[in-house]
C-alpha cells in the first residue's frame, strides 16, 4: 500500500482530474462557473463539518454512527427555540443537544467501556426516533433572519457564510489535529491504546472528548442545514452518515484508527458534492447518477486505499 501521505496525494490528484474532466465535458453546461463551484462548497458544508469530527473519531479508533440523528435533533430543537427566543438561544440549544448526545456516547464508550459501533448504532436509532417525536414529523420554519443569515444565506464581504463555515471548520480542525498535543494523542490512541496508556495519555478522557466533539460538530451541521433551508425537519442528516464516512475514508483516514487527514476529508467531501453536481448536469437519470457515483468512488478507493499485503 502506498504510504498514507502518498495515497493522500493520489486523492488530490484524483479530485483535480475529476474536476478537469467535468470542466471539459460540461464546459457549456455551467459546471465551471464560479457560481456553480461555490454551490458545490455550500452544498457540502454540513458534510465537511461532520467529516472533520469523524476524522478525529476514526483516527482515535472509534466510530460515530449517530451523527445523522444528531443533525436532525439539534436542528429541530434550535428551530423550536427560535420561535420565541433570539438566535444565540437557538444556537446554544442546538449545539447543547449535540454536546449532550456526544457526551452520552462518549460516556458509554469511554467509561462504560462499550464498543462505539454498537453504542452509536443504538443512539442513532434512539435519536432518530426522538427527532420524529419532537415535532410529530412536522417541519418547523425558522423566521429568524439573523440565524438564517449566519448559518445559511448571508455573504459577509461577498463570501457566502457557508464557505466561511467550511474554512473555519477545516482550519480549526487542521490545526487541532496536526499541531496540538490533543491531536497527537488522538493519533497515538488510535494507533495503539495500550502504548498510549503506558505513555501517560488519558485514553478514556480522549475517547470521551472525540465523541463529544463529533456530537457538537454534527449539531453545527444541523444548524447549517436549518439556516440553509430556513427551517428544520426530521429527515435532515438522515442520508449523510455514509457520505461522511465515504468522504473521510476516500480522503485518506484509516477506518481502523491511527491515521487521518483533515484536508483529505475536505477533498473527499468536495469530491462527493462535485460528483452529485456534475452527474446531474451531465443529464444522467437518477439511477445512472447512482451507478456512476458508485463507480467513481470505487476507482478513487482503488487508487488510494489498495493494500497489496491483504
Amino acid at each position: 500500500m502506498a504510504s498514507p501521505r502518498a495515497s493522500q496525494y493520489v486523492i488530490y490528484v484524483g479530485f483535480l482530474a475529476i474536476l478537469a474532466v467535468f470542466s471539459i465535458l460540461l464546459r457549456n453546461e455551467g459546471f465551471a462557473t464560479p457560481g456553480n463551484l461555490v454551490n458545490i462548497v455550500q452544498q457540502t458544508t454540513p458534510v465537511t463539518v461532520m467529516a472533520v469530527g469523524t476524522v478525529f473519531v476514526l483516527t482515535a479508533g472509534e466510530i460515530d454512527l449517530s451523527i445523522g440523528s444528531t443533525v436532525a435533533v439539534s436542528a429541530l430543537l434550535a428551530a423550536l427555540v427560535l420561535r420565541h427566543w433570539p438566535w444565540p438561544a437557538g444556537v446554544l440549544v442546538g449545539l447543547g443537544a449535540g454536546a449532550t448526545i456526544g457526551a452520552l456516547n462518549g460516556a458509554m464508550v469511554a467509561y462504560g467501556r462499550l464498543p462505539s459501533f454498537l453504542v452509536t448504532l443504538g443512539t442513532m436509532g434512539v435519536f432518530a426516533g426522538v427527532g420524529r417525536r419532537l415535532t410529530d414529523l412536522r417541519s418547523i420554519p425558522i423566521e429568524n433572519d439573523a440565524f438564517n443569515g449566519l448559518f445559511g444565506s448571508s455573504a459577509p464581504f461577498g463570501v457566502p457564510s457557508l464557505v466561511l463555515w467550511t474554512i473555519a471548520a477545516v482550519g480549526i480542525g487542521y490545526f487541532v489535529f496536526g499541531e496540538t498535543r490533543f491531536g497527537a494523542h488522538v493519533h497515538a490512541t488510535g494507533d495503539s491504546a495500550d502504548a498510549s496508556r503506558a505513555g501517560g495519555i488519558k485514553v478514556l478522557r480522549l475517547r470521551f472528548a472525540v465523541m463529544l466533539m463529533s456530537g457538537v460538530l454534527a449539531a453545527l451541521a444541523g444548524l447549517l442545514y436549518a439556516g440553509r433551508l430556513n427551517g428544520a425537519r426530521y429527515t435532515l442528516g438522515e442520508a449523510d452518515l455514509l457520505t461522511v464516512i465515504a468522504a473521510v475514508i476516500v480522503g485518506g483516514t484509516r477506518l481502523t484508527g491511527g491515521v487521518g487527514s483533515i484536508l483529505g476529508a475536505l477533498v473527499g467531501s468536495l469530491l462527493m458534492g462535485m460528483l452529485n453536481n456534475g452527474l446531474i448536469l451531465m443529464g444522467f437519470q437518477p439511477s445512472d447518477q447512482m451507478i456512476a457515483r458508485g463507480l467513481i468512488i470505487l476507482i478513487a478507493v482503488a487508487l488510494t486505499l489498495r493494500d497489496p499485503t491483504r
Binding site: G30, R132, S139, L229, R233, A239
Partner: protein, 359 residues
Amino acid sequence: MRQPTIALRCAMASLALSGLFVCASVAIAGETKGPGGEAATPSSALTLTDSEVAKIKDGKYTAALLWHTSSDFVNAVTAGATDEFNRLGMPVVAQTDAGFDAAKQKSDVETILAKKPSAILALPLDPVTSAEVFKPAVAAGVKIVLLSNKPKDFVQGKDYVTIVTDDLFQMGKHAADALAAAIDKKGKIAWIYHDAQYYVTNQRDNAFKATIESDYPGISIVAKQGLADPARAQDIAQALLLKNPDLDGIYVTWAEPAEGVLAALRAAGNKHTKIVTLDLSEPVGLDMVKGGNVVAIVADKAYELGRAMATAAGYGLLDKPAPQFVVAPVLTVTKGNVVEGWRESLHREPPQSILDALK
C-alpha cells in the same frame, strides 16, 4: 403507487401534519378542492393550440424534472412529461431524485439552475422548507409547475404556474363503487385504512368510507381496522377474518398491504371475500386476472399527471393564464380492462405474468 415505502409515508405524514399540503382544504364532502378552496380543473382542460406549440418550439426552451424520489409512479409521470416536452420541442436537460431529503432537493435546485432551464416540474418535499428550496428558481424566472404540494406562501401565477395532483376523493369513491358492484350492493365489509397522518391515504380511505355510508345502505362496515405497517397486513387480516368469517368484501388502503390480506384469505381457503384496493401492483393484479379475491384496483393516471404538468409549463412560458388547481383522472382497473388500465396509468404494458394469465 405512492405508498410503498416507510420513508414516503413518513415524508407525506409530515406534509399532512404541517397543514400546508396543497389539498389541505379538500373536504370529504365529495370533491377535491385546491388550497384556497379552488374548484378542481380536470387535466384534460389543459391544451395548447398548434400555434401555441409552434411558438413554444420557436422559444428553444428547456425543462428539468426535480422529483422527490424514484418509483414506478415517478417513472410514469416522467414519461408523460418527457413525451409532452418532446412535442413542445423542449429537451429535458436534467432530472433529479431528492431521496426525500429537503436539503438534497435544495442542492438539486441550485445545481440544475446552472443549466438555466426554462421550466421546472417538481414535487416539493416539504411545504415549510420548500419555499427556501425553490426561491432561487423563482428568482431566476423559471416557470415552475408543482406536483401535489405547494411551498408555503407561494402565489399561483407569480411564483408557480399551477399545481397538478390526483383526484383523491374520486379514487376512494371509485373503490367503493367497485366493491359495491362486486357484492351486489349488499353485505358485510371490512375497512382496512392507513393508520397514520398521511394525507394521500387518509383522503382516499375516508372517501371510500363516506361513499359506502352515503350511497350503499345495504352494505355495512362491520370491521374498521387501522394499519400502520404494511408488513403486518397478513396478521391483521387473519385476526379480522377470525372475528368476521362471513365478510363479503374488504377494502385495503393500498396494494402492498392488500398482498398481505390476499395471503391471509388464501391461507384460510377463503374464495368468497372480495378485495378492492388502490394503486397497481403485479401480485394483486395477477390475482385479479386469475379470478381470485381481488375484483378491482383503482389507480391514478400518473402518465397524464406528467403530461398535464408539461403542458402547464407551456402555459407559463406563453404567459397564458393556467387553472389554479388541476386534477388528473382516476381509473378503475378490473380483469376486463387490465391491459388498457396499465397502459393508461403507467403508460406501459402490464407485467408478463399478467399477460400470460390473460391468455
